[in-house]
Subunit: 487 residues, 2 copies
Amino acid sequence: MKAAIVGGGVIGGGWAARFLLHGWDVVVSDPNPRVETQVAEILLNAEKCLPALADVPMPARGTLSFEPSLAVAVADVDWIQESVPEDLSIKHSVIAEIQANAPAQAILGSSTSGFKPSQLQDGAPRPGQILVAHPFNPVYLLPLAEVVAGPDCIDEVRDRACDSLRSIGMEPLIVRHEIDAHIADRFLEAVWREALWLIKDDIATTEEIDNAIRYGFGLRWGQMGLFETYRLAGGEEGMAHFIRQFGPCLAWPWTKLMDVPELDEELVQKIASQSEAQSGAYSIRELEAIRDRNLVGILRSLKERDWGAGRVLNQNDKRLAERVSVAAQDDGAAVPIRLLESTVLPAWIDYNGHMTEFRYAQVFSDSCEALLRRVGLHDDYVAAGHSYYTAETHNQFYDEVAANKPYYTSVQILLADAKRLHVFYRMHAADDDRLLATLEAMYLHVSIQSGKVVAAEAAATTRLMALADEHVALAKPETAGRFVGQR
Amino acid sequence: MKAAIVGGGVIGGGWAARFLLHGWDVVVSDPNPRVETQVAEILLNAEKCLPALADVPMPARGTLSFEPSLAVAVADVDWIQESVPEDLSIKHSVIAEIQANAPAQAILGSSTSGFKPSQLQDGAPRPGQILVAHPFNPVYLLPLAEVVAGPDCIDEVRDRACDSLRSIGMEPLIVRHEIDAHIADRFLEAVWREALWLIKDDIATTEEIDNAIRYGFGLRWGQMGLFETYRLAGGEEGMAHFIRQFGPCLAWPWTKLMDVPELDEELVQKIASQSEAQSGAYSIRELEAIRDRNLVGILRSLKERDWGAGRVLNQNDKRLAERVSVAAQDDGAAVPIRLLESTVLPAWIDYNGHMTEFRYAQVFSDSCEALLRRVGLHDDYVAAGHSYYTAETHNQFYDEVAANKPYYTSVQILLADAKRLHVFYRMHAADDDRLLATLEAMYLHVSIQSGKVVAAEAAATTRLMALADEHVALAKPETAGRFVGQR
């Protein structure tokens, strides 16, 4: 799949990074001479962060190219994302040139934050190909894409667009009725107006306003939105009760939103200097890095809780896992069996820059699953009521390994009978074959319902026992049977 | 220190929990016959979550009592927090009764979200004692308290109030000029009005609006607010440039905020039924637990990054550490040391509904960090170039544990010398004390730069060795020294 990114600023660059890291080829078209530098900087940010959100290997990265000619850039792509300035006449002329040169079945998404799709579709040769796909900065981390088809976009195009957005880890929010500024930006606009008044009237500084948000309701909104939060405030008396209470407040003179503050140079300078006092100690690059690390932390914590944007990430992992296949490999000679071949994920790294201890346990746990699949004990075996439970393990740690380094694991079977499976795993760095860690493990064959150890049926363990017979020929691992602290 | 909580609903109960868990005695005064149940439920939520944010021991919990007579309740307290309904005449009569009976030097904080302090101070016998201390739900987790002194509150009272709020882990945001609804609620009000229009006009449902928030800008606002976020959107061209660009949009017809939607019964029911479709699968208690777990995750991730609300938590840890003598807790009988008290996170669960094998390793790894912090080996020890690396571990798995179940871990020190630390951890289910798993571990003291084992300086390991000496008195764990497959 290939995407053309038209306009390579903060938003276009973010789209480019998200597509690339999900395996799409990307061509960026922007006459700005600095576009290659800009996109490179954004991509550098993105590759530090986006892979840290995945718990399965990401697909191989696509290729990135730059093509100043819009006509050439869009000639052979599946998706065109327009992120040019918010000026309708510019958008119209760019859309006209795109449609004169792009495949008819490609999707033409616009990043517009304000225009309705009907305004973009108006006068276009193929309006059915055009929709709004409005992302949020940083595009490579935030999953939301507001999808607005408007009156003229073809349903099949919209559905295909949603599938493509999911395939790059985004969550399409279909806005069913087009409206200026879609949904989210209407809220941002409302808050922005109110904030301008508070600054103009010297009620609060930019920093005080930011603290009022991020120490309070901003934390709530990162995981539940407005209504689920208020549902809780209503408690057992219910949402309707809560809203009725809220009613009279609406008429209170709490807001100056009826007026538009005049954004004169004095107010502009006031905001700029307060912002400088608040954030000026950091460069923009530093602030971006801080923001991205924060977002990765928040998103990962939501992912562990399988909630909100974290659930979107878990669903993306499932899709990624289906796309990346486990390498096939011959059995035969009595050698330890290769199980996993993968890379150390960025999120596995601790503050020392090395793989965190418990992630080794994760690698060996994944190795166990790979071993069981290999000998024919698939999920249906578990579904039918039997499984191997881990009774005990002994882990030895030999060497450090850094993010993104390739590794492989192997297993040697020490014993397999009807009730027991005793194995020895090794984890190696793939580039220099260093031994990183070993795990000796004893698994017991159990009935899931009773939780008791039971004998496996012979058919189930045929291949396992055959491998165990072969592995008798292998030297016993030097540290098998070792206890902690043994001299 | 003792606080009187006047009004024991969601907000008053949240205050009670926050004061109690930070060591204050608390008396709750509320004529509602259900008040004891309500506060108990909130306290149950709070004690699952608030201690999970601390990395140092919390102070011993204060005592909780209930006193229907307001006059009696406030007679001997340092802080009175008023959280009665938002009705000025009710507030005035409650304030009058409080001031007739409370110590003159006590602080009288009001949780009002809408009234200005001057409105509360008006006609009061001692206006200088009254200020607004406006918290955010859940009060026991969100650090923000808007402090508005208004024209009549004494500066010394305001400053003392801020110190007290910090002592219970909150971040006072001083609102320098009183204004209806202070700061944060003005934004919430603006968003709420816009949301009502979107629902009334069938543009979006409550769930779509929540997703538009929590998959996008809500994640940003959990860590940076509005202005720091926009500073990044402006990039190197600067804040003033960015705002000037924004200017014309203010005049665009993007908002219906000029009108107040009529909140008639039809709209109330529409919101209530959409909210039911969105969140009705969970009870209020379940949603509260989910929210609290999410907030703990977000706050902990920000704490690791020492940013925003996470920095507030780190500062609170420092204050707690000064107040609570860790050494004092270690004194006394030789028993295994309690390390973690937390719950099994939903993402730790495998297809069998049980905690995944490698998450046990994670729990024990976290336990190791807690142990090192406890003996004074903090991040600065690592920053200075030394650390303990794991050499080998032996894990035994005894029992299953399901999602959201509380657990605790303990550690017994088997040996500590200049180079080695040999320990035995146990993980128990907290509700029935079942042993879930054990980990025997050998750590080696290393120089991070060379990666080599080196002797620790005596000062660094004094407390560790003292604990090891105490633990000699404990029985050796039955399975310590066991190897895999041992009969």
